[in-house]
């Protein structure tokens, strides 16, 4: 079976051949032997052979892996305790995340900044038509006892402002759009 997995902007092409718990996995053409044992619905124990041209061909590296959908709808693979955001076959959002914000992450198309949690809009820091830079604070939402700045994911122009100071918003409410 063939999969395309994108991590940090880099696409890996993966072909899997299965034989019980053992898998021959070609990753961008390099084949690696994997033993995958399922722990539960979310967790796997992987034993991975050393990469092809290694001088220690017999090495068997062990990884504990957990797979989940995070609150923003992104697929996260924890390798040990290290979270890695992955996009499988081009799909960026899963489940309820579909109708929610795109976070502050960079991407193509308009950036729609939505409330990540219920709260109250404390300050709107930009105006319609304003040019903003990546990571510039756009709006402050108070929730969970903290004031939380939502920032621009990339450079652009503020094309829509739906946030109004002092107004309570639900999770997922669209606050600002940047073109």
């Amino acid at each position: 079976m063939h999969y395309e997995v994108e991590i940090g902007g880099r696409l890996r092409r993966i072909d899997i051949t299965r034989s019980g718990d053992d898998f021959a996995v070609a990753i961008d053409g390099r084949t690696r032997q994997i033993t995958a044992t399922r722990i539960d619905a979310h967790q796997w124990s992987l034993l991975v052979s050393a990469p092809g041209k290694s001088d220690t061909p017999g090495r068997r590296v062990t990884y504990d892996v957990a797979i989940s959908v995070d609150p923003a709808g992104a697929l996260t693979v924890h390798v040990g305790s290290t979270p890695v955001a992955v996009i499988v076959n081009g799909r960026r959002r899963w489940g309820p995340g579909d109708k929610r914000h795109d976070g502050a992450g960079a991407g193509s198309g308009p950036q729609r900044v939505a409330a990540p949690m219920p709260g109250k809009v404390v300050r709107v820091l930009v105006a319609q038509g304003e040019v903003v830079r990546a990571r510039q604070p756009l709006v402050v939402v108070e929730a969970m006892k903290m004031e939380n700045e939502l920032r621009a994911g990339r450079d652009g122009t503020v094309s829509e402002i739906h946030a109004r100071e002092g107004v309570s918003v639900e999770a997922g409410a669209l606050l600002i759009v940047i073109q």
């Binding site: 997995v5 991975v48 957990a66 995070d70």
Partner: protein, 505 residues
């Protein structure tokens, strides 16, 4: 004391349940709507609903808490920290209902809860305070008066809410021109947050450390200080890492700071647990900052190095027992302890809260590790409260080993379904400034600003390969035909058990 109502939730409620169990006291929980199946409810003997999820409709409702205490027949109330823990009215209401409040008197809470009254107490005790205004500044103080006052204190000045805490209602001002606006902003924030918009001015020390002294005072006039806690690692004035002892406090300085702390507490006749916070400047001078009239979040690290149980002592003091401890032993730390506050926040997205359902949870354990937590897999981190998941404590014979142990424990910590600050701590504990103890209260904000949002985890090519492989295999084997059951041997076994149980009907 046979039954104790815990007027709180989350990890601190669980902490108090544990102390109750160890002392043969029956713990009584209260819960808001979203906390019906929370850990503190499940672990207590009794549990009472006190209203909707929003704190002001439940955990901040003095009337409902007193009602629950009456209904359960509790004879004491522990407020935990946060919520009503430093609310003098609550302490008074508990007392008026004929119950024992596990904490100081309402009078002590009221005095030390006012930053200006607390400063006055410190001055009476002969303890240096940060130069600042001696009285609260309400809206009637003119801008000109403010500028003149600030000039006499010296810039940079801090504008602070009298009723403040947690960095709210606080502004730094570097020049007279910015003063009036900062005071207005701080007043507004403080009014909203604390219902009290008065502020005061204070010299902002350059690169100070935040050092605090835990105290216990009994009902017989004894006040005992404990070895200091170092709490300089803060993000926006919120502590994120605490440790004891401080890497920069000598035994001589410890003797002076702990004596000063005890003197302040004695001045106000303080009883039960409390903490005196100091700023320590680069020249080794220390200044009284404020007093917290409650159990601190970071109390576990003190417990680890002194073998004392502070919650037990709170209860014993409230029962009238004397503090029969060797004062010298409390100042001689056994080993070193560090606490990381693990939050449901996304460190790579400006520490935005990340509430939601925890899918998988694996907590660290083994030598020297303590995890004070109320989280469990399948349950929610609610949106309504402080998103603290757990307080992870590492204890070891030395500071380097405690750091190594904390890093090991962070590597064992797995939380999926929500984002947490685990990757941030993994990064922080590897920073040379942290490892060498070279930091101050603005260190973290400065270094975070300088990183400009660069992710805390920069995974290697190999780890990314493994993540990609795992995602592909997981996708390939999670066939709809199998329902949610997957193909796993372990999983299959569990489902078989379910099927057996279903056969019961």
């Amino acid at each position: 004391m046979r039954k104790l109502l815990i007027a709180n939730r989350g990890e601190i409620a669980v902490r108090i349940v544990r102390a109750c169990r160890e002392m043969g006291i029956s713990p009584v929980a209260v819960y808001s709507e979203c906390d019906r199946a929370a850990a503190h409810v499940r672990m207590s003997d009794e549990a009472y609903a006190i209203g909707p999820s929003a704190p002001r409709e439940s955990y901040l409702r003095i009337d409902r808490l007193i009602d629950a205490a009456a209904q359960s027949g509790a004879d004491a109330v522990h407020p935990g920290y946060g919520f009503l823990a430093e609310n003098a009215d609550f302490a008074a209401a508990v007392r008026d209902a004929g119950l024992t409040f596990i904490g100081p008197t309402p009078e002590a809470i009221a005095t030390m809860g006012s930053k200006t009254a607390a400063r006055a107490a410190a001055i009476r005790a002969g303890v240096p305070v940060v130069p600042g205004s001696e009285t609260a500044l309400d809206a009637r103080v003119s801008d000109a008066e403010l500028v003149s006052l600030a000039a006499s204190i010296g810039y940079p000045v801090l504008v602070k809410a009298v009723a403040g805490g947690g960095g709210r209602g606080m502004r730094t001002v570097h020049a007279p021109a910015d003063l009036a606006a900062a005071v207005r902003a701080a007043r507004s924030e403080a009014g909203t947050a604390f219902g009290d918009s008065t502020v005061y001015l204070e010299r902002r020390l350059v690169r100070p450390r935040h050092i605090e002294v835990q105290l216990l005072g009994d009902l017989h006039g004894t006040v005992l200080p404990f070895v200091e806690r170092e709490c300089s690692i803060q993000r926006r004035h919120q502590k994120v890492v605490e440790e004891t002892p401080s890497p920069v406090v000598s035994p001589a300085l410890r003797a002076r700071m702990t004596s000063a702390a005890a003197a302040v507490a004695k001045t106000v006749g303080y009883t039960n647990a409390g903490t005196i916070e100091f700023l320590l400047d680069e020249d080794g001078r220390f200044y009284f900052l404020e007093m917290n009239t409650r159990l601190q979040v970071e109390h576990p690290i003190t417990e680890m190095v002194t073998a004392q149980d502070l919650v037990h002592w709170q209860i014993r003091i409230a029962r009238g027992e004397p503090l029969d401890l060797d004062p010298a032993a409390l100042l001689a730390p056994h080993g070193h302890a560090i606490e990381c506050r693990i939050y449901a926040e996304d460190p790579d997205n400006n520490f935005l809260p990340s509430p939601g359902r925890i899918v998988s949870l694996r907590t660290p354990d083994g030598p020297g590790i303590r995890d004070d937590s109320a989280a469990s897999a399948g349950l929610d981190v609610p949106i309504f409260y402080d998103p603290l998941i757990s307080k992870l404590v590492a204890w070891a014979g030395s500071r380097p080993l405690a750091i190594a142990r904390m890093r090991r424990a962070l590597g064992e910590y797995l939380v999926t379904g929500i984002k947490t600050t685990v990757p941030f701590f993994t990064w922080l504990l590897a920073q040379p400034e942290f490892v060498e103890g070279r930091f101050h209260t603005t260190y973290l904000d400065e270094v975070l600003a300088s990183r400009a949002g660069r992710p805390f985890v920069e995974s290697s090519d190999e780890v990314e390969d493994v993540a990609a492989i795992a995602a592909a295999i997981h996708t390939a084997l999670s066939a709809p035909a199998n329902g949610s059951h997957g193909n796993g041997r372990a999983a299959a076994g569990r489902w078989k058990t379910d099927a057996r149980l279903e056969g019961l009907r």
